[in-house]
Amino acid sequence: MQVAVVDYGAGNLRSVEIALRHLGADFASSKRPEDLAPAPRLIVPGVGEARAAMEALEAGGLDRAIRKFVASGRPVLGICLGAQIIFQRSEERDTPCLGLLPGTVRRFPAGLKAAGLKVPHMGWNRVFHRGDHPLLAGIPEGSFFYFVHAYYSEPADPALILATCDYGLRFAAGVARGNLAAFQFHPEKSGPSGLRLLANFLAWEPRERL
């Protein structure tokens, strides 16, 4: 097995699996910590609501499994909700999260609607890089990725930000530290650019650990 996908009832599991199959990856999805533990890399997908996601993870012991996996230094990728729950706290029903990275997940301000911007932020938006990272290799600056979200992460340390996106405000579209990387958009639904990012993850050998 090349990569394990955490199955905690999140909406986009199937799409992630289909993209991995297309890339020829040998993967397994599981809700059991003991199945995830031996994998060389891990994907935490997710669509839905933070509180429900954290409850589902905690009920299955998956929160501890993810923390241990990250601590082991092997590569971990968070997608969408999976990129939010790695922070300390989410404003979505004021939910304590995994706390792997310092920062808070906030809701897009209500004022966006007056500017003609609807929430959720849904559709294809441009993603800009902050520096180089192996996960962004071969992806042109300003490429479009597919987003669907009403909350965004606000890292406490700007150095965590790997990529940004503009939607009324400039938010972190991607964050990374050590062996943990996470993206707010859906690479599995972002056409060739997204597939490239997933392929980059499958080849990623982090030089540092979180």
Binding site: I18, G48, K113, K118, P120, G123, N125, R126, Y167
Partner: protein, 265 residues
């Protein structure tokens, strides 16, 4: 630490969504003389539009029989394996179980229409189970001076009038948890003379969720009009591209030339 964006407040592109009808697992219209593809195969057609740069696809199941529905789900699975952009599935969705089946087959979104009018709780149930982003309301409206907003909701493929006012129903659907509205004008549908601008502008201004304009597209100018003037978040097209008059890329190039932000890669 989040700093306000400089220049444009948003880089979000307006979406071009291609709609395909499927009967008994086969697409019913197709580009006849282009490329070497099976125009009846939903996966091949989906792939064709994916490669042209469509932002999203919608597959409507117009099958009547129960056997046909099983074949449709198999087609959805094949579609999911052949393209990597979001797609929605609609037609005959009446229960949470129906929604679960198409989402498990690989669709991102489920479109509900007549069944949600008959039983509005369907929207609420779908949104709480799968999230609002999964639940699209298909709303068929026609002009009616007796309806408060000037437009009445129709169901059953636009054949049956309801008591609902189009604007009131759109607002109610948002409150129930719909994540998006595909707004189809019965008056404009099939005319190829342009989208119903007044209807689209009214609904899009009133709701806080994305509105996809549908019905009436015949030329790229029509998309420019509905995206720029009527403030639609996305535009649905079908026959414009199915019969080969335009490609999605040509339409997007035109829109980009008019200053409308689109994804061109």
């Amino acid at each position: 630490m989040t700093v306000p964006a400089q220049g444009a407040a948003s880089g979000l592109a307006r979406r071009i969504i291609v709609c395909l009808d499927v009967r008994d697992g086969r697409t019913t219209k197709g580009v006849r003389f282009r490329e070497n593809i099976d125009v009846g195969d939903p996966a091949a057609m989906g792939r064709f539009y994916y490669e042209q740069g469509a932002d999203e696809l919608v597959f409507y199941d117009i099958t009547a029989s129960a056997e046909g529905r099983g074949i449709f789900l198999q087609a959805v699975e094949r579609v999911a394996g052949s393209l990597f952009i979001p797609f929605a599935v609609g037609g005959g969705i009446g229960t949470v179980e129906d929604m679960r089946r198409v989402l498990l087959a690989g669709a991102e979104k489920v479109s509900v229409n007549s069944q949600a009018v008959r039983r509005p709780a369907l929207i609420e149930e779908g949104a709480s189970r799968f999230g609002s982003q999964c639940v699209v309301l298909g709303l068929d409206a026609a002009r009616d001076p007796e309806s408060p907003s000037g437009y009445r909701v129709f169901i059953d493929g636009g054949r049956r009038p309801t008591e609902l006012d189009a604007l009131a129903w759109a607002v109610q659907a948002e409150r129930l948890g719909a994540g998006e509205i595909v707004l189809n004008s019965i008056d404009a549908d099939g005319t190829r003379e342009g989208y119903e601008i007044a209807l689209t502008r009214m609904i899009s201004a009133e709701v806080g969720i994305p509105v996809v304009a549908s019905g009436g597209a015949g030329r790229p100018e029509h998309l420019a009009e509905v995206l720029a003037e009527a403030r639609a978040d996305a535009a649905l097209i079908a026959s414009m591209v199915h019969f080969g008059a335009y490609t999605v890329r040509e339409i997007k190039q035109y829109l980009a030339g008019r200053g409308i932000p689109v994804r061109l890669e």
